[in-house]
Every structure is written in structure tokens, then in C-alpha cells.
């Protein structure tokens, strides 16, 4: 049985594993992220996944699920479910519906409130996410500008796992998107909550890009490029 905490980093862990012993570590502040829980002197795992560590002191468990756990400053794609007096109720695939205040838009006042129908797709930012309360969204960035947030018109949206959305948003650019970007012209919005929106001039472009993205979760970078090449050869 190894005692070093580094022995668990980058390894697959399951719920219940004790990964850190705080009494052994010197006086340092550790930040624990998703999937980990503090039990007096130990840090134990709550979700199955890979334990990750980033300097100087952040630990978290990387896992991919169909549902989303809201975190502040994440950008998500939500669907409007209902309109209340002060808020829109938006479904972001989390444990509770999110509230989007009617004023949280650039230049939003009580006189010019946006009107969203049920089913409108919105690109928004999570402003507040406390356990036990409904998360709050905002369609402006921290300084109050619109910055691409707001409703998304036309196009096609589909759901994916949170792991796939993280891969699509990673930098350097994900191989699927990079290869498509060389030959086709399309617009894409990725929500960290497992929703993706694709828009292009022709429906066939939208379809080929969406299908390729849905298939690319389990493929490596090289396999993704080969798949995209085959698809592009077929349609051109």
C-alpha cells in the first residue's frame, strides 16, 4: 500500500477511495474540486473517474456524465422552460432549473425586457451556483457586455456528455473541429453542460459536423482526423 498522495494522481479511482491524508501533509492549503469530499482528515472520492492534480494545490476527479453539476463561470447552453415575473426558468441539465434574471442582458432595463418563448436556446454564463439553491445565469460577461451571450437562432442542437464538451472546448483546438474548419464553414457553440449547437449555410454541412462530433468521444486525435477525412471525401 503506497503512502504518497502522488501515487493516486492520474489513476482511475472509485467512490470510497481515500486519496489524501491531510494530517501527513504539511501546512498547505489544498483546493478540492468536483468528485472529491473532505471527511475530517481525509479526502475521499465521490465519483468514479481519473484523479487529476494541477500545481500548486488543486485536486479533482475528471469524469464524464450525461448530467451537469453547475459551477460558477461555466458557459452553458440552456433551454427556456418558463417565464416568471423577474426570471426566466432555464433547463441546463442539472439537478435544478436555473434562473435567468430578466435584467441580466446588456442594456437590460425593466422597459426593454427580452421576450423568449418556451424552447428558446440560450448561450449563457453561470453566475451563481450554491448547493441547495437554484443556479443563476447571466447573459453578460463580468463587465456587463453582451459578448456573444444570448439566444441562438436557426442551426441544430444536440446533447452530449460533459466529457465530450470539455474535449471540444480544449485548446489546442480539438482535431475534429480543426479538420472540419479547414474545408467547411460553420458556426458552433459548446455548453459545458453537455449541449452543442451547430449552424451552417447548408443542412448537409450541419449534419456531417454534428454526426462526426457525436462519434468522436472515444476516438484519439489521429482517429478523429481520419474519420473527418473520410467524411469530407464522401461529400465532396
Amino acid at each position: 500500500m503506497e503512502n504518497k498522495p502522488s501515487s493516486f494522481v492520474d489513476r482511475q479511482v472509485v467512490p470510497g477511495d481515500v486519496v489524501l491524508d491531510l494530517s501527513k501533509m504539511s501546512n498547505q492549503t489544498i483546493k478540492i474540486g468536483g468528485g472529491l469530499r473532505q471527511e475530517s482528515d481525509f479526502i475521499t472520492v465521490m465519483k468514479a473517474g481519473k484523479l487529476r492534480f494541477s500545481k500548486p494545490n488543486k485536486y479533482w476527479v475528471e469524469s464524464s456524465q450525461k448530467r451537469y453539476v453547475p459551477r460558477v463561470d461555466d458557459t452553458v447552453l440552456g433551454i427556456v422552460v418558463d417565464t416568471k415575473a423577474d426570471n426566466f426558468l432555464v433547463d441546463i441539465k442539472g439537478p435544478a432549473l436555473a434562473f435567468l434574471p430578466v435584467l441580466a442582458f446588456e442594456g437590460g432595463t425593466r422597459r426593454n425586457r427580452p421576450k423568449f418563448e418556451q424552447g428558446t436556446l440560450l448561450y449563457a454564463r453561470v453566475a451563481k451556483a450554491n448547493p441547495g439553491t437554484n443556479p443563476e445565469l447571466s447573459c453578460t460577461d463580468a463587465s456587463g457586455k453582451a459578448a456573444e451571450f444570448g439566444p441562438l437562432k436557426d442551426g441544430y442542437s444536440f446533447e452530449c456528455s460533459t466529457g465530450l464538451s470539455r474535449m471540444l472546448l480544449s485548446s489546442p483546438t480539438c482535431p475534429v473541429l480543426e479538420e472540419f474548419g479547414k474545408k467547411l464553414s460553420f458556426e458552433i457553440a459548446v455548453g459545458l453542460n453537455g449541449r452543442v449547437w451547430v449552424n451552417a449555410a447548408s443542412p448537409s454541412t450541419i449534419i456531417v459536423v454534428s454526426n462526426a462530433i457525436m462519434k468522436s468521444e472515444s476516438l484519439s486525435g489521429v482517429q478523429q482526423r481520419i474519420m473527418v477525412q473520410k467524411l469530407l471525401d464522401r461529400i465532396q
Binding site: 500500500m1 503506497e2 503512502n3 504518497k4 498522495p5 501515487s7 493516486f8 482511475q12 479511482v13 472509485v14 467512490p15 470510497g16 477511495d17 481515500v18 486519496v19 489524501l20 491524508d21 501527513k24 468528485g35 469530499r37 481525509f42 475521499t44 465521490m46 465519483k47 468514479a48 469524469s63 456524465q65 450525461k66 448530467r67 453539476v69 439537478p95 435544478a96 432549473l97 448547493p131 441547495g132 468521444e217 472515444s218
Partner: protein
């Protein structure tokens, strides 16, 4: 006093285990668990907002629906639902998402003995697939006692019907830990000797019961390993066999 089991297993041998996760498209988490011919499919939806009337809104609640292979839902199914619900409530961390409901739906695909342990294993794998926060995993096993006093693990339906008594037990899985062996203290002891759920049928003496518990505990390390290996990077259906 060796009893020959119909399928040639030794008294301590489990049937081949098989588990696939992510088998259902719509469910937020799903798993299919098979022990020999007994197969159960579990689906997890949630956490969803809102709790039922007589549930505590300060905690998450777990709802279980048991669907038998044939026939209407009766008392036996209600009993299974209750045992499963209590077991899952003790392994889920209920304080993380208060005022939500997680639904677990269990569908019996085939019953060939040790049905409830198989369902508990399937539900636990489905909860992990859905990303519900858990304190630790649970491993369930069935142990039966023959007239002659012989204790056998994981009986088939025919063996179960002939036995004097049997025990379904659910134990926490074995965990990897950075703590050294010596400092087992309270936490270690709980993990080594913990028992989450125990359901018995028939008549057995206390000594026999404790003997069954010992045998079950010894077998859980194998099942824990199988479960741990199965929870490795999963990408849709990925089944693995273990003997």
C-alpha cells in the same frame, strides 16, 4: 460432506460475473449486471428537482421502482423496493443535492437465484454511471445454508429452493487508501467489518449466520476487484467477464 453442485462449482465459487454500463440511451445512468443466468438491468434518472410529500426536503431522496419479469407488482416487489431503497440511501451522499429525487428503476431480465444481490450490484453500477455522489460502493452476495450444514455462495434458483436458509448480504467494497495499514482505527474497522444490509430467509443458528457472513466477506474482495476494473474508462457498452 461434499455436496456436488449441479454446475460443478465449489461451495465458495461465484458464477461468472458480467457488467455493462451505459446500455440505455435515455437514462442518465444505466447498468446491466449478470451473475450466471440471473440478469438485472438498472436505470438511474436524476437528480431531479423536487421530493415527494413525506420525504425530508433537506436531503436528496432515492426512489426505487422494481419491475418483475412477468406478472403484476405485488408484495414481493414492494419488499425488494424497500430493501433496495434503504441500501442505496446508505451509500449515497444525501446532503449534496437537497430537495432532489433520484429514481432507480430495476428491471428483472432473468431470475436464476440471488436476484436481490444482483439487483443491488446493478443499481450501484448504474449510480456510478450517472455520476451520483456515493460514499463508497456496495457489493452484494447471497450465501445459503444446506440441511447438512454446508455453506454455499451464490446459489442458483434450484439450489435456493432446496436450502434450509439463505442470507443476502451487502458489504462495502474494498477501497484503495493512502493510509498505512496500522492506522485502521475507526474508519478502517468500519470498512473491514461493515455490513450495510442483511436479509435472511429460513431458520439458521447464530453461529451459522456468522459463518455465512465470514464466507461472504471473503468473497467480496473478488467482486470488488471486478467492479473496480469494470469502472475503468468506459465508453458505452463494454462488458468484461470474471469467474
Amino acid at each position: 460432506m461434499e455436496i456436488d453442485r449441479a454446475d460443478g462449482r465449489s461451495p465458495n465459487q461465484l458464477r461468472p460475473l458480467s457488467c455493462s454500463r451505459g446500455v440505455l440511451n435515455r437514462a442518465h445512468g444505466s447498468a446491466s449486471w449478470a451473475q450466471g443466468n440471473t440478469q438485472v438491468l438498472a436505470a438511474v434518472y436524476g437528480p431531479k428537482a423536487g421530493t415527494k410529500k413525506n420525504e425530508d426536503p433537506e436531503k436528496a431522496s432515492v426512489e426505487v421502482i422494481w419491475k418483475p419479469k412477468t406478472g403484476q407488482i405485488g408484495k414481493q416487489e414492494k419488499e425488494f423496493e424497500m430493501v433496495l431503497k434503504r441500501t442505496l440511501q446508505s451509500i449515497c451522499i444525501l446532503t449534496i443535492h437537497p430537495n432532489t429525487t433520484t429514481s432507480v428503476i430495476v428491471q428483472v431480465v432473468h431470475d436464476d437465484g440471488a436476484l436481490l444481490p444482483c439487483a443491488i450490484n446493478a443499481s450501484c453500477a448504474a449510480l456510478v454511471d450517472a455520476g451520483i455522489p456515493l460514499k463508497h460502493l456496495a457489493v452484494a452476495i447471497c450465501c445459503c445454508l444446506a440441511e447438512s450444514g454446508l455453506v454455499m455462495l451464490d446459489p442458483t434458483k434450484l439450489e435456493e429452493e432446496k436450502m434450509k436458509a439463505f442470507v443476502y448480504m451487502v458489504l462495502p467494497n474494498s477501497i484503495l487508501s493512502v493510509l498505512p495499514e496500522e492506522s485502521s482505527s475507526v474508519k478502517g474497522e468500519q470498512m473491514d467489518h461493515g455490513l450495510i444490509t442483511s436479509v435472511t430467509h429460513g431458520v439458521m443458528s447464530v453461529d451459522d449466520y456468522l459463518h455465512c457472513l465470514e464466507r461472504g466477506r471473503a468473497a467480496t474482495s473478488k467482486m470488488s476487484d471486478f467492479l473496480r476494473r469494470n469502472l475503468q474508462p468506459r465508453l458505452s457498452s463494454d462488458s468484461s467477464m470474471a469467474g
